[in-house]
């Protein structure tokens, strides 16, 4: 159904065998080894680019190249980028950041700014954009540190922001501290050509099925996952359905003499 619709960057994923090199392009030599956990050292020192989570818009109602003189076609809307939060974050947010930074320093692990290049506070929720190499370290610390105690992982899922967005694939981890009744979201931004992320199963066993689902739906490979196989789709399915490049599918339906196109081909105003 979707074999021919997959984005060109991702090779056929076959049966989704455990941590195969499915997320890497054939050309990326540093990830050619199956199950490689170490990431390119170049990436660690890459300056953090602003996280973009939205697409740039032009025009309205999808008008292009017509004789439209209404002015709607000339509307421009920039891509949305969540603003980095500034101190003070408010509430317990500052405390959690301070405690994490102190614990990271105490353990001689990594500087907070390096592990978490961007902190965003939006609508009363805190999001940390995490450098993927440091995700397991950070999660372990968040779980174990007495001042943090994020002992419960609510879930791991993915978001595909579409092809126009740099680092379009995001891994979203929802953490919950039952001790302090706080919720924190960790987010890892990934390039679609290199959609690999360290697994959180050793830290939070509940991430097992969540990561399998994220692999199944988004094609994000979780390195270190015990058995990264498809979970919702059949084992021999091609493609990853929640990718934006994967069509919704559907057939035109005739209704009272008119032909109604499938939902993904109808006019959209978004």
């Amino acid at each position: 159904m979707a074999d021919d619709e997959k984005q060109p960057g991702v090779p056929p994923t076959g049966t989704g065998g455990a941590s195969g090199p499915t997320g890497a392009t054939p050309g990326s030599s540093e990830h050619s080894e199956p199950g490689a956990v170490a990431f390119s050292p170049v990436e660690q020192h890459r300056p953090h680019a602003p996280t973009v989570t939205g697409r740039h818009r032009e025009g309205m109602f999808g008008i292009h190249g017509s004789g439209d003189t209404s002015g709607f076609g000339g509307l421009r809307l920039p891509a949305y980028a969540p603003a980095p939060a500034e101190r003070p974050y408010g509430g317990w947010f500052d405390e959690v950041v301070d405690e994490t930074a102190a614990a990271l320093e105490e353990g001689g692990l990594v500087a907070f700014d390096e592990a978490v290049p961007q902190v965003t506070v939006d609508r009363g929720e805190m999001t940390w954009y995490v450098a993927r190499d440091h995700l397991p370290t950070l999660a372990t610390l968040l779980r174990d540190d007495a001042a943090l105690r994020f002992e419960f992982c609510s879930g791991v899922s993915g978001v595909d922001y579409g092809e126009d967005v740099p680092q379009q694939l995001h891994v979203v981890v929802q953490l919950l501290s039952m001790t302090y009744r706080r919720r924190l979201r960790l987010e890892v931004c990934l390039d679609v050509e290199d959609a690999r992320c360290p697994s959180l199963v050793p830290v939070y066993p509940t991430a097992d099925w969540h990561e399998r689902e994220t692999w199944d739906m988004f094609g994000i490979v979780f390195d270190g996952h015990p058995s990264l196989t498809r979970i919702l789709m059949p084992d021999d399915w091609n493609g990853h359905p929640q990718r934006k490049s994967y069509p919704l599918g559907g057939i035109p339906v005739e209704y009272k003499g008119a032909e109604i196109p499938p939902p993904d081909q109808r006019r959209a105003y978004t």
Binding site: T53, G54, R123, F152, R181
Partner: protein, 449 residues
């Protein structure tokens, strides 16, 4: 006769009932005449693994759940769960519909608790929009959810009873649930998949006489719920099937992400209605029952008790209902034209047509735009968890500023809790797998989405 005597004396086998076997093209065929089961078991098992496939079409696996059991004798040594048979792509479909239309999709996830999924989704949209729903809508939401919780727990008890052979528990449970569905049909118009709760409030006000019907329902439930205790709680067979079965202690629950009655049966009074109140739950007087046995029996008792607590909340909701709007007043979100159906039940009423044609054509235009195009939601993301009958139900919504969601993800407690099944079942008997699974109360529609 001499021939016969010879044959008897020549018979070298001392045990007349010994098992014999012969190799055939189909495999080994045993001839068993009785009394030699030990030999047979020794001969046929050894280190051989027996793998049993249970489901996906099996009446005791709670829907289309497939279990692959590896057993040694009657003991389960390994459990693997295969899900995805009910995957309908609801999350993906939502990306191609407006924010309001999304409600009709998410309500079809967990078909036993549709109002909870609707609420979680709508609360997430509302957080993205930055709007506060009116008080009356909040009370109606809470009331509907608690009525729904009773229905969901009743199905959990009924199907759980059926799977264990307590068929009267099943018939009683479904009979009581029918009261719930009748009430919900009266209040929302539909028995299931209501799409009654919408971003901004609820779609319409309660019908006339709703309070009376709800209180009558509460009275009926008050008289019938004790029947479960009379029928099952003290029942020796029921206890033998459930006590100590499906044991999952607190640390196991936390590491496997298990919430809801299973977590509370392990002793942690973690109920989002109490610890992180939403929709004004802090103003209702109710208790969160817990247990420390961490077994299937404790979960059964908790569900029965939670139904009583839900009835308490429903009664308080009826008192808390005060006249007022049930939808935000912002006409850019709520539908501006107040549609009313004509006498023939087909089109708009004459008053409505008169109003839009004579007084407010703009409301019709806005209405048309909102229905076809939908409202825009500011970019960003939100995760709103609520306490569903099965545990933490979270809606993670991402908007890029458009009229459609960029991503809808539901953290379904059925999906997460099912992960705990191997930890509960391995080392037990095959029959206990059924009891443990029933105590998990998974709904595959929610699990697979």
């Amino acid at each position: 006769m001499t021939d016969l005597d010879d044959s008897v004396t020549d018979h070298t086998v001392t045990d007349p009932y010994a098992a014999s076997s012969r190799e055939t093209t189909e495999g080994t065929v045993y001839t068993v005449t009785g009394g030699d089961w030990d030999e047979l078991v020794d001969e046929s098992t050894g280190d051989e693994r027996i793998v049993i496939n249970m489901g996906p079409q099996h009446p005791s696996t709670h829907g289309v759940l497939r279990l692959v059991l590896e057993i040694s004798g009657e003991t389960v040594t390994d459990v693997r769960l295969v899900i995805g048979y009910l995957h309908t792509g609801i999350e993906k479909n939502c990306e191609y519909r407006t924010w309001t239309q999304g409600v009709t999709f998410v309500t079809r996830c967990d078909y036993l608790a549709p109002l909870f999924t609707e609420t979680a989704y709508c609360m997430s949209v509302e957080r993205l929009l930055g709007i506060e729903v009116p008080t009356r809508a909040q009370v109606i939401r809470v009331m509907l959810m608690e009525i729904n919780r009773i229905g969901s727990h009743l199905v959990a008890l009924a199907t759980g009873g059926m799977e264990l052979g307590a068929l009267t528990g099943m018939t009683n449970g479904f009979r009581e649930r029918e009261e719930v569905l009748h009430l919900l049909e009266f209040l929302t118009g539909l028995r299931m998949n209501h799409a009654f709760i919408r971003p901004g409030g609820v779609v319409q006000d309660l019908p006339d006489g709703a309070e009376k019907r709800i209180l009558e329902f509460c009275d009926v439930m008050d008289s019938r719920l004790p029947g479960f205790h009379q029928l099952l709680t003290g029942n020796a067979i029921w206890q033998q099937r459930l006590v100590g079965i499906g044991y999952l202690p607190l640390d196991g629950c936390l590491s496997l992400g298990v919430t809801g009655p299973i977590l509370r049966s392990a002793g942690l009074a973690w109920d989002l209605r109490k610890v992180d109140p939403y929709l004004g739950y802090e103003q209702y007087d109710f208790e969160v029952p817990t247990d420390t046995a961490a077994d299937s029996f404790a979960r059964y008792k908790l569900r029965v008790e939670e139904m009583h607590q839900s009835l308490r909340i429903v009664r308080q909701c009826v008192e808390a209902l005060e006249p007022g709007p049930v939808m935000v007043q912002d006409a850019k979100i709520a539908w501006p034209a107040k549609l009313s159906v004509g006498a023939d039940g087909m089109g708009n009423s004459l008053e409505h047509v008169r109003q839009i044609m004579g007084q407010s054509m703009e409301s019709l235009i806005h209405h048309f735009k909102l229905v076809t195009e939908g409202f825009k939601v500011p970019p960003g993301q939100a995760y709103v968890p609520i306490e569903s009958p099965r545990g933490e139900l979270g809606a993670h919504l991402v908007s890029d500023g458009g009229t459609r969601p960029l991503r809808v993800h539901l953290r379904e407690p059925s999906f997460v809790n099912l992960q705990a099944a191997p930890a509960m079942c391995e080392g037990g008997m095959v029959s206990d797998v059924i009891a443990a699974l029933a105590s998990l109360d998974p709904v595959m529609g929610g699990c697979d989405r």
